[in-house]
Symmetry: C2
Subunit: 469 residues, 2 copies
């Protein structure tokens, strides 16, 4: 069942209003990982709740309690639960999105203010933090619902939704909520399938459906020694320096070629069979796609299949930075007293034992602590399920081409929780392109992806109603 032609027209005709609404959402700096912005995550929850009510969603804010972040006790932003329809003859789909964002400062290298949506008329880019990850997709759902609400047209499915404000910081509190509401008599009772729009096409040309996620474990490794920062002239070569120890430890994690040096991690992944290799070989993708997205010729290999496996199925380890060391411009001759390295490993948490062993081996008198800051579990779904079939038909209808079937390097912690708690198929249906720059400077969503993506989400609901269970 294709979506009504009137719906597709409605999206195009209201483009300016929809972009204005996206600008309103981007303007709220709802950074979940920064305690000073916690109030903005709450404000964002209020804003979104108001928008959902306006398009006919019956919502409730759910208090998720409190948590500790960097030693500070903070209230968790509420999750939003919502519902439309309870028709036993219709399928029930649960949609998910997150309204928090990664940190962003103009000084990080943005060309424009990150929390002011900039519209590049020439390229059609909508630039701002959260435009693609994940406010754009959430607003895509709002666009779909607004058409049906304003025109008094019932949705082709029953809708349940859950939106959270802690996705960029480990989705704290959400697992418990999802598990609870998945039980008999819970809010999600009767859900037939799940759709999450919170990732990206593999390239800039081909729509994608995603059936796997690599997961994430984020670590903070801290070395403490001196009671205070020391002058490197006075103390250099007299004491064990925490930075020396930390650099040494971080150097034991990953090679310049991306191989993980934590013993056993690379071995934990079964080698791909020929069938799986064929999927990678067949994807609409080239080395130049990744180098274009990265902005430099720095791919780890010239072999497309090898690079795609590095992204989709192999573990990866990235060192993000160091807290506590001198990080400003200029030259400061300090021996920092307490330094924390931040790194994440995609998928395999064998890290703590490795670090403890490596630290013992360097024989320092400083102290080591390792914290697992947050994580997300890996996940793989059946891409031949009717939920995926509906999305394939919708993609073909809106974009005129078949979607790439991809597995993602990133993590959306709740994905596996949905799959396990509800026991239903979960689909990742991305709105943005591979070069959107989520988590990076100048994050953008192409205007065409925002509009065609909204059509895709709506069309998916109609195809879902039609497809054979």
């Amino acid at each position: 069942m294709p979506a009504p032609a009137e719906f597709l027209k409605y999206i195009d005709n209201n483009a300016d209003k929809f972009i204005k609404r996206l600008a309103d959402a981007v303007a709220i700096p709802s950074i979940s990982g920064d305690a000073t912005h916690r109030k903005d995550v709450f404000a964002m929850a209020e804003w979104l709740n108001g928008q959902l009510k306006q398009v006919g969603v019956d919502t409730q804010l759910v208090d998720l309690g409190r948590h500790t972040m960097d030693g500070e006790d903070l209230p968790l932003p509420p999750a939003i639960l919502g519902r439309i329809g309870d028709d036993k003859s219709k399928k029930t789909v649960l949609i998910y999105g997150h309204f928090d964002v990664q940190p962003a400062n103009k000084s990080d290298g943005w060309d424009t203010e990150p929390f002011t949506l900039a519209i590049d008329e020439k390229t059609g880019r909508l630039i701002g933090r959260g435009s693609s990850d994940d406010k754009g997709p959430i607003l895509g759902w709002l666009n779909v619902l607004q058409y049906h609400h304003e025109n008094n047209i019932p949705l082709p499915v029953n809708l349940r939704c859950v939106f959270e404000g802690m996705e960029e910081s480990g989705s704290e509190g959400l697992d418990e909520l999802v598990q609870r509401e998945s039980l008999k008599g819970g809010y999600f009772e009767g859900v037939d399938c799940v759709c999450i729009s919170d990732n990206y096409w593999l390239n800039t040309r081909t729509p994608a459906l995603t059936y796997g996620l690599r997961g994430l474990s984020y670590y903070k490794v801290t070395i403490t020694g001196p009671a205070r920062d020391l002058h490197s002239g006075v103390f250099g070569r007299t004491v064990h320096e925490p930075m020396t120890d930390l650099i040494s430890l971080l150097g034991t994690l990953v090679s310049a070629q991306g191989d993980i040096l934590v013993k056993g991690v690379d071995d934990m992944v079964a080698p791909p069979n020929e069938e799986e290799k064929a999927i990678y070989a067949g994807l609409n993708y080239s080395i130049s796609d990744i180098e274009e997205a990265a902005g430099a010729s720095i791919a780890l290999s010239d072999d497309k299949v090898s690079v795609l496996m590095g992204r989709m199925r192999s573990p990866s380890l990235s060192i993000h930075g160091i807290e506590g060391a001198f990080s400003g411009a200029g030259a400061k001759t300090v021996i920092p007293a307490k330094v924390s390295g931040k790194f994440s490993i995609r998928r395999h948490p064998l890290v703590i034992a490795h670090l403890e062993k490596a630290f013992a081996a360097i024989g320092s008198k400083n102290k080591l602590t390792v914290e697992n800051l947050h994580g997300g579990k890996p996940w793989v779904a059946d891409h031949r399920h009717w939920n995926f079939e509906a999305a394939k038909k919708a993609t073909k209808a809106v974009y005129g081409q078949d979607p790439d079937l991809t597995r993602e390097g990133g993590s959306i912690p709740v994905t596996l929780t949905f799959a396990e708690s509800l026991g239903v198929n979960v689909l990742l249906l991305p709105m943005g392109r591979g070069d959107d720059g989520a988590h990076s400077t100048n994050e953008k969503l192409d205007k065409s992806n925002f509009l065609e993506g909204s059509k895709l989400l709506g069309t998916y609901l109609y195809e879902l109603a039609d497809v054979q269970k």
Copy 2:
């Protein structure tokens, strides 16, 4: 010739006024290494110039031109030249100090505001950035001069002074000034010896005279790759990551035991003979002194002579921090596009070739650049010279004990320039103690060191007048 008893009394009687003046000096955040504070370095020059005039010094501000710092073109703060007396029958001493300071933020871990002098009545500590390095010692000279000016008593020597505002950033522009003014007919013509008060006692008990400095080369090593920051989920294990490369390079520099891994550096220093070892063995110093100053039991060795040689004669290498990586609190899953490691090596610049070789060896497609941000030359003086003899007598007179004879791990770039340009003996006559925390959080100068140190500087001038050339 001992200093007049009236002078010693004057210092004690005016203690509160002198501390108030130190508070005024500390309140000006004259951070030379931070472009946004350059105006404060200028303000500090104006303030000090006014103070010098008030105590009878004939001064002039010398424009040192402009320089580039972190890509920004900036005016250099002026140097202050000053003079009192031109009596051919008296010796002429040149004194030096610097009125710029290291960066400091309360958030670095200070217990009090770094640019508000805090007076701890219980311990007698005067806490604030620059209290010990080097505003306290400069004000010590002001205290001495104020006594003579107010009481119309001529100094026992002719005085020349030079104060600069770029010492913490490589003393840019000063070498040329010193070299020029040391020529025949220059401002420093006739100078018989130099006294610099800009370092520390070895411990917290024993006054010291310093006859050697280790020097410094400060490096910035930058790796660039991607055109922008990348999402570690999307790009992890597909591209060469600049942080991985940088950590690998920094890991090739120094061992956890402080041994320098840059080939050849440790070999460039001749092993100590038995006589030199005896000096270290005789110093009033123990391992617990350094561990008390560092605030933790982290000395590299339990052998006092080995630790003292590590501080005074061996090269040292400290890694200060990383610019461009994620340095905030919390967890950000970013692959930074451009990261710069900051480290300094005390004395031996064999570093660039080492880094280029190490970078070639890891086979990354990212780009490496290495900059030598600033440096200071090593220096050793004759501690049997009459300039040192005068200081020894003054120390005995004020403190009732003989000074330690030390070599310092730090650098005061201009020291060697004075020695070479003027061809006279240079003495380092420290005011502060080994635990003052210069360049660190909670930098302090003990009130007793400020007052007894002022007496020491004045007494040194009287002993200087007396000692046999």
